[in-house]
């Protein structure tokens, strides 16, 4: 029995180092703020499909929500502990993850910022999404659809989340500057689900019967807003706009339920982020900033778009 055990110990002692030698593939860490919106799912699809193509291991960690900064800090610390070759970070809060990211860079693990860029110096690359532009495009779309006159309500999502605040700012400032005939009568700045949006919009239509436009920070609440508008029988008079391009948003565009949605080449951004991470891991030069433009998608140009750059396939499971 003792001899057998000794043999086992010896064997593991020999085999383990050999196997670790064999695994020379890069390991990239990926810290995403949440995985409950089509935005970040598509982003993750971009990162993961590129990782599979290039043959690198990907460690995906999900903070579970934009407000879970403490959890994300722990996750980045754990990625550092796991000695990954590079880390891609979509920050829950740009300032909140700054200390831990600087610590990672200090320990020699390069960091790539993706979409929600950490406010740290020394990032190897920053692939950014222009959230202000997404709000601005929605404003132009709604402004034109309402002929410059009317009352809009905003489902802006949680106050304090930078992407939501930036999109909202883009929308409000554009409306105030260029469509002064449009009043903003109501706004919700907490986390709203599709079901919550139904109740919210029903109550708003009750209180402000003259609402003719609804801004949505994400496309999921647009679906709820539509259900409320339909049940109040105001399909003809209320126009709904959104951001993000999930498959549901695409269907809503085709059905004429959604006037337009502002979108970004999210999958492209994810792929680029992984490519830059691999460059940084191999100590090769990286591009400091990469920006992809926002697009306004409506029923007319939906068919002409290359959706594989914008959204993950329907059967993707992170």
């Amino acid at each position: 029995m003792k001899k057998f055990l000794c043999a086992v110990w010896l064997a593991t002692g020999v085999v383990l180092p050999l196997s670790s030698q064999a695994q020379q593939a890069l390991t990239i860490g990926y810290a995403t703020p949440e995985l409950s919106s089509s935005f970040w799912i598509s982003m993750t699809y971009g990162v993961e499909s590129e990782a599979r193509k290039l043959g690198v291991n990907l460690v995906k960690l999900n903070a579970g929500g934009d407000s879970n900064v403490n959890a994300q800090i722990s996750q980045i610390q754990d990625l550092i502990e796991r000695k990954v070759n590079a880390i891609i970070v979509g920050a829950t809060n740009a300032n909140g993850v700054k200390p831990v990211i600087e610590s990672s860079i200090g320990k020699g693990i390069p960091v790539i910022g993706l979409s929600s860029i950490p406010n740290a110096s020394g990032l190897s690359s920053a692939i950014s999404a222009d959230h202000y532009d997404m709000g601005r495009l929605q404003a132009h779309c709604l402004g034109k659809a309402l002929n410059g006159k009317g009352a809009v309500a905003l489902i802006s999502q949680q106050q304090g989340q930078s992407w939501a605040d930036t999109r909202r700012r883009g929308f409000i400032e554009t409306i105030q500057k260029e469509y002064s005939g449009i009043r903003i009568v109501a706004e919700s700045r907490k986390q709203v689900t599709r079901n919550g949006a139904i109740n919210l919009v029903e109550d708003w239509l009750q209180r402000f019967p003259d609402i003719n436009g609804i801004y949505n920070a994400v496309d999921d609440t647009a679906a709820g807003a539509w259900l409320a508008v339909k049940s109040a029988q105001k399909e003809g008079s209320v126009r709904i706009a959104a951001s993000n391009l999930s498959s549901n948003a695409q269907q809503m565009l085709r059905n004429g339920e959604l006037v337009c949605t502002s979108a970004q080449q999210i999958v492209t951004q994810g792929r680029e982020a992984l490519r830059q991470a691999v460059q940084a891991a191999k100590k090769e030069p990286t591009k400091p900033t990469i920006e992809t433009p926002s697009i306004l998608v409506d029923r007319n140009n939906l068919g002409a778009l290359d959706l594989s750059l914008l959204t993950a396939p329907a059967d993707y499971r992170p």
């Binding site: 460690v59 754990d78 300032n95 499971r317």
Partner: protein, 333 residues
Amino acid sequence: MNTQLSSASSQPWSRLPRLQQMTSLNAQALSGPMACMLMIAVMASISPGFVSANNFGNIFSQSSVLFVLAIGQMFVILIRGFDISVGAVAALASVVAVQAMPHVGESAAIMLGIMTGLLAGALNGYLIACHGLQPIVVTLGTTLVVRGAATALEEAADSMSLGGDGMLQLLGYAAFLGLPLLVWLAAIISLSAWLITRWLPFGRWLYMVGGNPEAARLVGVPVRSTETLAYALCGACAGLAGMFLLARSGTAIATEGAGMELQAIAACVIGGIALGGGRGSVWQALAGALFIQALLNGLNLLGSSPFVSEMVLGAVIVSAGILDYVVRKFKRD
């Protein structure tokens, strides 16, 4: 303990039979640390990089926030209550501290943050103890009010970040004798809490009020003050946790902490502190917090599909209770 009681023989509560919960180390009390060790063993075998001095240092420093929250929660669970506002209170404390810092300096701002927590807790305690309202409703109401206040303050602020190199930022990432500073602080707080529950009369009152409020009232324990103070302490711990959060992230986030209150209560329950009140101690809360943090850390290191990790997290939380069941059955047989 014996000498303590006999020297206080003129006090009414010394005539009560010695409260077993406070001193005996029965198997049930050990189920928390056992669960913890089992978790560490499992994670050590499946998660790459789990077993290293650095990683254990990480786990301890990451769990410092949960430690402090769990200790605060212990005070109120002992008196048959619980406080689901601690996440929101921690966020508010950090917002208040950051906003006050340019005006009153760092140490005073930290004190102010902790005071905010204390006041919020005292408000909870007043409503629950003096008016007899249900803890769930009061703390739910407080959560909503505090979150709203934190969001409003954040909106009105110029900057939510700690400027420059202050004491707090040093706290977040520096180490002393190999262990992160946050761990030392959490250890000091745990020690203070342990001293409160063991040596102060207030500690004895907590167990008495939790075990049998009517009997406690009859022997002269000031039940209302005890309960109010327990909630105030819980709030102060939440304020402290807010300072720890600030140390780690350097920024006050008004929406932070959502879900941490449930984790803190789960930590206490896993550690073996029953929600029925009257029994439990500081190290049980710590064992439970360590269990949860080791679990989260191990799942992070494994890096499997994030959704599968979530399923595993849920299953393990349920299983933590099963260990308690096994221990109970073993005790009976």
